[in-house]
């Protein structure tokens, strides 16, 4: 039976959210730049220079409870949606420019578990293949309830 796009199939987690320990205090944002959308950023912005860069699918930060503390901290970021965004060749060029011009140190690609999200990792791999300089790429897959499904170097 055809169930439609798994990335858009409706799921309801309301029952599953348990009252956890009350958290007090405010947490500081770990974002150290603007803009962040991949079409809006310039790969030559100074905060990408030799940086550890996080390329995140749009939905990731909403799904992960500790996105700032555990994943954004210490990194420069750009976000995009491999399913809905246009002109993705521009994305490949920008990632390539990070690697070759900004000489970034590492690239961490965070995506959701839904199949179409793998497209973002694919764009990154295309860019690395086209680059003369090589860098380590890490892929982190997040499930739709905010757990980490896998985290590995590719």
């Amino acid at each position: 039976m055809f169930e439609g796009c798994p990335g858009a199939s409706m799921q309801d987690f309301r029952e599953g959210i348990k009252e956890t320990r009350q958290e007090n205090g405010k947490r500081q944002s770990q974002l150290k730049q603007w803009p962040i959308q991949l079409h809006l950023i310039s790969p030559l912005a100074p905060y990408y220079d030799e940086a550890d860069v996080l390329l995140s699918a749009d939905c990731v930060a909403y799904a992960l409870g500790d996105f700032h503390k555990d994943y954004l901290k210490g990194k420069s970021i750009a976000i995009g949606c491999p399913k809905l965004d246009d002109d993705k060749e521009v994305y490949v060029d920008k990632i390539k420019s990070w690697i070759e011009d900004a000489k970034i140190n590492t690239l961490t690609v965070m995506i959701m578990q839904v199949p179409c999200c793998g497209g973002l990792l694919h764009l990154a791999e295309q860019a690395v293949k086209a680059s003369k300089r090589k860098i380590p790429i890490k892929a982190i897959v997040v499930d739709i309830q905010g757990g980490i499904l896998s985290e590995e170097w590719v």
């Binding site: 550890d52 961490t108 380590p136 170097w153």
Partner: protein, 265 residues
């Protein structure tokens, strides 16, 4: 039990020799280690067995140390179902490079027994064959590979850690064997040549196994993404120094030896 976790593996095994067999059973090759000063708890942490395997092993060790205490043993089959002894190893890109270099070194080690047969059989020593091997060991395995470990990789960790000291000592011991091998060759003494080729083979095989299966995995778990990137860049620079031509030369050397010694049977 806690007090034994803080003891060195050598002391634990001295008091309870059976522990050595248990470690063996779980492929933890620490028992024959020449230094043996790692604490039991570090050994358990560093080897990262699947959690149920670790519990099972700890229960067995506890039973040896406290034979009178009631220790509930889980069913082995139940526990091992679906869990392989070693999880699939996935290295970070820089450590993957070192593992690939090990592969070339291991190919040479595999050939050593054939080379020894050749020395035994021939009336005159094939000096060129052994000299080229020494050049491979010295230039590729030592100046290139071990130097990357010693001058770059190990610097990311506390070099007073027992496991790193053990690795450094292995490198030193290997250098000693190569020195003796060269002297044996100059004296044209078959016995010395064979003895040192054998020693080198045994030492390096164990050494590489320790690095591939324990040390590198543990290092990967402790390196931040930032450090992995730095390490990758530093390795790339070191690789440029030796150059692609040199690397190719050694790959071709190993290949030619394989053609000569492995293809005929």
């Amino acid at each position: 039990m806690e007090k034994y976790l803080e003891k060195s593996i050598k002391e634990v095994i001295k008091e309870f020799p059976k522990v050595s067999q248990i470690l063996d059973e779980y492929n933890i090759g620490c028992a024959p280690c020449s230094i043996g000063s790692c604490m039991l708890k570090d050994i358990i942490a560093i080897h990262s067995l699947p959690i149920m395997r670790e519990i099972e092993m700890m229960r067995k060790i506890e039973k040896v140390i406290y034979p009178k205490r009631e220790v509930k043993m889980p069913l082995v089959n139940e526990l091992t179902q679906g869990t392989s002894l070693f999880q699939e190893k996935k290295y970070s890109p820089p450590l993957k490079k070192l593992v690939a270099e090990h592969t070339l070194i291991k190919r040479y080690l595999e050939l050593i027994s054939k080379i020894i047969e050749d020395i035994n059989a021939a009336s005159r020593i094939d000096k060129d064959l052994i000299l080229k091997g020494i050049d491979f060991i010295k230039s590729y395995a030592d100046k290139f590979h071990h130097a990357k470990e010693e001058r770059i990789l190990f610097k990311y960790f506390d070099e007073n850690l027992d496991i790193i000291k053990t690795m450094l000592k292995d490198h030193e011991t290997a250098r000693g064997y190569v020195k003796d091998l060269f002297e044996g060759l100059e004296k044209e003494d078959k016995i010395i040549i064979i003895e040192n080729l054998n020693n080198y083979n045994l030492l390096l095989k164990e050494h590489i196994k320790k690095e591939d299966e324990i040390l590198y995995l543990w290092m990967d778990r402790n390196l931040s993404a930032h450090q992995v990137g730095r390490l990758f860049a530093e390795f790339s620079d070191a690789d440029k120094n030796i150059g692609e031509v040199e690397t190719k030369k050694y790959e071709e050397f190993i290949f030619s030896l394989e053609e000569r010694f492995l293809k005929k049977d």
